[in-house]
């Protein structure tokens, strides 16, 4: 029992040390004030203990003391707030070009998917020394992705994506816990994050990649479900061209503008009538109930890939298949450099 005793989680990410330092600062400051209060109470209880010749001295108060013990704690609280806010703001802003990993939580397991197409259950392999961004969603109830060693936690919601990022600094196996009560096997929804040396990670990826990248799965789904018949790159499409839209502003038919982020893409597939792009009719059918969260992630992955030129080392995406509905083959569009 004692051999396994854990009193402090390991520091395994760039955030861990910052959080620990702040924590220790708070322990020291609050500890001092707590000891002060304890000491005063015990000291007064002893020094002014009831004796036959003692009379209490009636003291109404002291504005100076009140001001002192209001302003000094307030000042210290503000330091705690500002320092905490600084650590927090850093922790919620993923660096650009972080590598993406997708997480789907469900009762009672974690499904993790690397863009290269490798899927894992309850175990997440990541390389050391790289920024990793997790895009997460739940298939059912609210869960929470918690890695104590990285000092990170974020609720995983049904219906929209949430993100988390980290930069691992130590190799090893680190606990992964679900931290939002989610039903019967909430305490069983645990696993580990395995941090590997970068070359080992690449080997591991290559060894496990057998289903094609997420983007290529997404492309396959995109074609099978007939998306390609409306979302064309020429001007004949009944739907907007999706090339390059990820991350860009989109004008809607009610005059407002939104950013085409992960949530927007997902919403547009599941609830197309809610945000209709300006200049288009609201005729897109809903895929609610037709695609699951993993297919949605792969579709989002695919659409994201339409913003980037194909990178070296990524496996070539599978060739476009014929859309089921129309029977037309997809003619390559002139002037369009993205070859599917």
């Amino acid at each position: 029992m004692l051999k396994d005793l854990s009193l402090w989680p390991s520091q395994a990410s760039t955030l861990s040390g910052n959080v620990d330092l702040l924590y220790i600062f708070l322990i020291v400051v609050t500890g001092l004030f707590t000891l002060l209060v304890f000491a005063l109470v015990i000291f007064f209880a002893y020094k002014y203990r009831q004796t036959p010749d003692r009379h209490a001295t009636q003291i109404e108060g002291s504005n100076v003391l009140e001001a002192t013990w209001t302003l000094i704690p307030f000042g210290i609280f503000m330091i705690m707030f500002v320092w905490g806010a600084a650590v927090y703001m850093h922790s919620v802003q993923p660096p650009p070009n972080a590598m993406e990993i997708y997480v789907v939580g469900k009762q009672w397991m974690w499904k993790l998917e690397h863009p290269e197409g490798v899927r894992e259950i309850n175990t997440l392999h990541v390389p050391i020394g790289k920024d990793v961004r997790l895009t997460m969603i739940s298939q059912d109830v609210i869960h929470s992705f918690y890695v104590p060693a990285f000092r990170i936690k974020q609720d995983v919601l049904p219906g929209r994506y949430t993100t988390l990022w980290f930069h691992a600094t130590k190799t090893g196996h680190f606990h992964l816990f679900c931290a939002e009560y989610c039903g019967t096997l909430h305490s069983g929804m645990i696993g580990e994050v395995v941090v590997m040396e970068q070359n080992e990670y690449q080997d591991w990826l290559a060894g496990n990649a057998n289903t094609g990248t997420m983007a290529s799965s997404g492309e396959k789904t995109f074609n099978e479900l007939g998306c390609a018949s409306c979302h064309r790159s020429d001007t004949q499409g009944r739907g907007p061209d999706l090339a390059g839209i990820f991350g860009k502003p989109v004008a809607l038919d009610n005059g407002s503008t939104v950013t085409a982020d992960d949530n927007y893409l997902r919403d547009s597939i599941l609830n197309p009538g809610s945000k209709v792009v300006s200049g288009f009719k609201p005729i897109m059918p809903t895929y609610n109930g037709i695609v699951n969260e993993e297919q949605l992630l792969s579709l989002v992955s695919y659409i994201k890939s339409l913003s980037q030129p194909r990178q070296q080392g990524q496996p070539a995406p599978a060739p476009a298949s014929v859309p089921v509905h129309t029977g037309r083959t997809q003619a390559p569009s002139a002037g369009n450099t993205k070859v599917k």
């Binding site: 009610n254 609830n271 009538g273 809610s274 009719k281 609201p282 005729i283 809903t286």
Partner: protein, 231 residues
């Protein structure tokens, strides 16, 4: 009633833990005001949910509002406003000790309340037929486009109707309670229980009714009057 009888009525109504009628009157009035504040917070939760979802889905809210029966809602608003007028008048006459007129005005208010509920029942029934009662009774699935074609109804429309039914349902429940309350107070007024010196129950019941009316004044525009700029 003679002065001594009215005073006897007043003293008889003084509860033992109060020192004077004035203390009792002030306490019960304050009590009713605090109760009305709790009611504001109670409805407030629903108004918050309405606000959040309307901000998220403004087009759906407009669509939902177009399914409301404008004239029935407007008539109901006039009915409630009139009923509040009757209540205010009843308090006015109670202050002058004219309890029979007080009672009659309260009964008129009750009639208005019943009329309001009747119209709401008609509206609810129409929604039921149309298929816009949420839950197991929902079967409103296609919306007409401007060019005559149809498209699937956005599923947030159920949210709009859910809030419509819960908010107006909760309001109708309060109207019902108000009807019972005012009927009782009216009956007691008819029986001479109140005098010019002692009629606070009429006053605070009137406060309750005014509150119920006020909630409707907020519900009506939020549900019925979301303008459709494109019509």
């Amino acid at each position: 009633m003679s002065a001594s009888t009215t005073e006897a009525v007043a003293q008889h109504s003084l509860q033992h833990h109060f020192a004077t009628m004035e203390q009792q009157r002030q306490s019960t009035t304050l009590g009713m005001w605090i109760f009305l504040v709790t009611e504001i917070m109670f409805f407030g939760g629903l108004f918050t949910a309405y606000l959040v979802y309307r901000t998220a889905h403004p087009d759906v809210w407009e669509m939902g509002s177009q399914h409301m029966e404008f004239w029935l809602g407007t008539i109901n608003t006039v009915i409630l406003l009139t009923s509040s007028f009757f209540v205010a008048l009843s308090v006015h006459y109670a202050q002058r000790g004219m309890t029979k007129i007080t009672a009659l005005l309260l009964f008129l208010t009750v009639l208005c309340g019943i009329g309001f509920l009747g119209i709401k029942a008609v509206e609810y029934h129409n929604h039921y037929k149309e298929g816009t009662v949420p839950g197991p009774w929902w079967h409103y699935n296609q919306v007409e486009n401007p060019d005559g074609t149809t498209r699937p109804a956005p599923h947030e429309l159920q949210l709009f109707f859910y809030l419509y039914f819960v908010m107006t349902g909760l309001h109708a429940l309060h109207v019902t309670i108000g009807i019972v309350l005012l009927a009782l107070i009216g009956l007691w007024a008819w029986q001479g229980k109140y005098t010019a010196e002692y009629h606070n129950p009429v006053h605070i019941s009137g406060l309750y009714w005014h509150f119920v009316d006020l909630v409707w004044i907020f519900l009506y525009p939020l549900l019925y009057l979301i303008a459709n700029k494109h019509a």
